[in-house]
């Protein structure tokens, strides 16, 4: 009997702790704040797909589908906005607040979504499950695309809202937007060497080449040379006269 008492005590404490965690968890709802074109929605209570409407609430398990030249903007929390682009089907698998963090999972069946972080986020982690999906992030804005032939992907977002104080310098300032950082002041660009191409914080660079070997000489929106027709490439190449810039100071006057 003496040996059983501690076991029973531990079990009771574990159950009590689970109950406390469950009480802290708070289910959230995404709001469809804007849309254009043909957008359909299927909420858990709907038997069939219905046309989207503005300010529609999408709880966990809701699905959204957009047609050609259509898009929908979902506001997950005050700081997290997701734009569902054209020809996309996505499902909100998880959207809940637990403690100071908001956990959200989006299952992307096909198509692409754009994640936009607004002011007030202390730190946001984004994880894309399928390595074949395309991820490109610039600052606090990320685009994830899952081709239909690859079977889609899952996007996990963990957002923590708050402020960060730099204890060493004694200067406190709010961290938000593109300055998103962790509790130690490390900004996301400091993490790029730590993360794999499809690991957490896949925030800078499209692939391993850009992550590890390039010097980020191009902006996120620039096209690669092989993506433009040959003559356009020639006309826009660095050696063409139209955009060629002087590489250094001109020679001093008087030099023959």
């Amino acid at each position: 009997m003496r040996t059983r008492a501690p076991i029973v005590l531990v079990l009771v404490m574990a159950a009590f702790a689970d109950g406390q965690d469950a009480a802290k968890r708070e289910e959230l709802e995404a709001t469809l704040v804007a849309f254009k074109g043909t957008v359909d929605v299927k909420r858990p209570e709907d038997k069939d797909w219905v046309a989207a409407d503005r300010n529609m609430k999408l709880k966990r398990g809701s699905e959204i589908c957009t047609s050609v030249a259509s898009a929908a903007t979902l506001l997950f929390t005050g700081n997290l906005k997701i734009e569902v682009r054209a020809l996309t089907q996505a499902r909100v698998d998880e959207l809940a607040k637990q403690g100071g963090a908001v956990n959200s999972d989006v299952r992307l069946k096909f198509g692409s979504i754009e994640v936009d972080l607004l002011k007030g986020d202390l730190r946001t982690d984004m994880k894309v499950s399928a390595p074949n999906s395309t991820t490109s992030v610039s600052g606090s804005n990320g685009i994830v695309r899952a081709p239909a032939t690859e079977g889609g992907c899952r996007i996990t977002l963990r957002t923590t809202t708050g402020t960060w104080n730099h204890d060493a310098s004694g200067v406190g300032r709010d961290i938000f937007g593109s300055d998103v950082a962790d509790n130690y002041g490390n900004q996301l660009r400091d993490f790029r060497a730590l993360a794999d191409s499809h690991d957490f914080i896949d925030f800078f660079g499209r692939d391993r080449f850009e992550l590890y070997q390039s010097r980020f000489t191009t902006k996120a929106g620039d096209a690669a040379p092989w993506d433009v027709p040959f003559f356009d490439f020639v006309n826009n190449s660095p050696t063409s006269g139209r955009i060629k810039r002087p590489s250094g100071l001109p020679l001093p006057p008087g030099v023959p």
Binding site: G37, S67, V68, A86, L87, T134, S136, T149, A223
Partner: protein, 170 residues
């Protein structure tokens, strides 16, 4: 073989005849509005010419269309995207060559030297689409799955907006 076994075999064959007859004449698909055809397309093993006409016309017009097959083909023929002498019906299985031809004509892709000199055909169109990363590698007579058609339409829409299919914009 005993008589009982022969009788059972004959009964099984007779019972199978009407089933085979039903397989040969499938019921025409019900009309699907809004985004339902996209979700059905995702599940299809083989995309049809009707699916491609609807999707490509939507991309060209820049808006969702729920028009029927005859109206879509008439519109596409008027734009020179499809040829009237192809003789394809709505349920004809879609090949990569046909899809590439429609994409090139729909996006007004002029192609390279060969296509400019000798004109467009399905083979050249497919090579051009592969070069521009609009379509995955394949052969002209290869059938297109529903998911492949979805990806091609997505790429075509991106190409129409951006002028290329850089993965950043998809």
């Amino acid at each position: 073989m005993s008589r009982w076994k022969l009788a059972a075999l004959a009964a099984a064959l007779l019972a199978g005849v009407p089933l085979l007859a039903q397989d040969k004449a499938p019921a025409p698909p019900a009309k699907e509005g809004r985004t339902a055809y996209l979700r059905r397309l995702f599940e299809k093993d083989r995309a049809t010419y009707g699916d491609a006409c609807r999707a490509i016309l939507s991309v060209i017009k820049g808006e969702h269309t729920d028009a029927d097959f005859a109206a879509n083909v008439g519109d596409l023929t008027g734009r020179g995207v499809v040829s009237a002498d192809w003789g394809l019906v709505e349920s004809s299985l879609l090949t990569k060559g046909t899809l590439a031809y429609m994409v090139c004509q729909g996006l007004d892709l002029k192609g390279g030297l060969t296509m400019r000199l000798f004109g467009i055909n399905r083979r050249y169109a497919l090579r051009e689409c592969i070069h521009r990363r609009l379509i995955e590698r394949g052969t002209v007579d290869e059938y297109v799955t529903g998911r492949e058609l979805l990806d091609v339409v997505t790429n075509a829409a991106v190409h129409q907006q951006q002028g290329h299919t850089d993965s950043q914009f998809k």
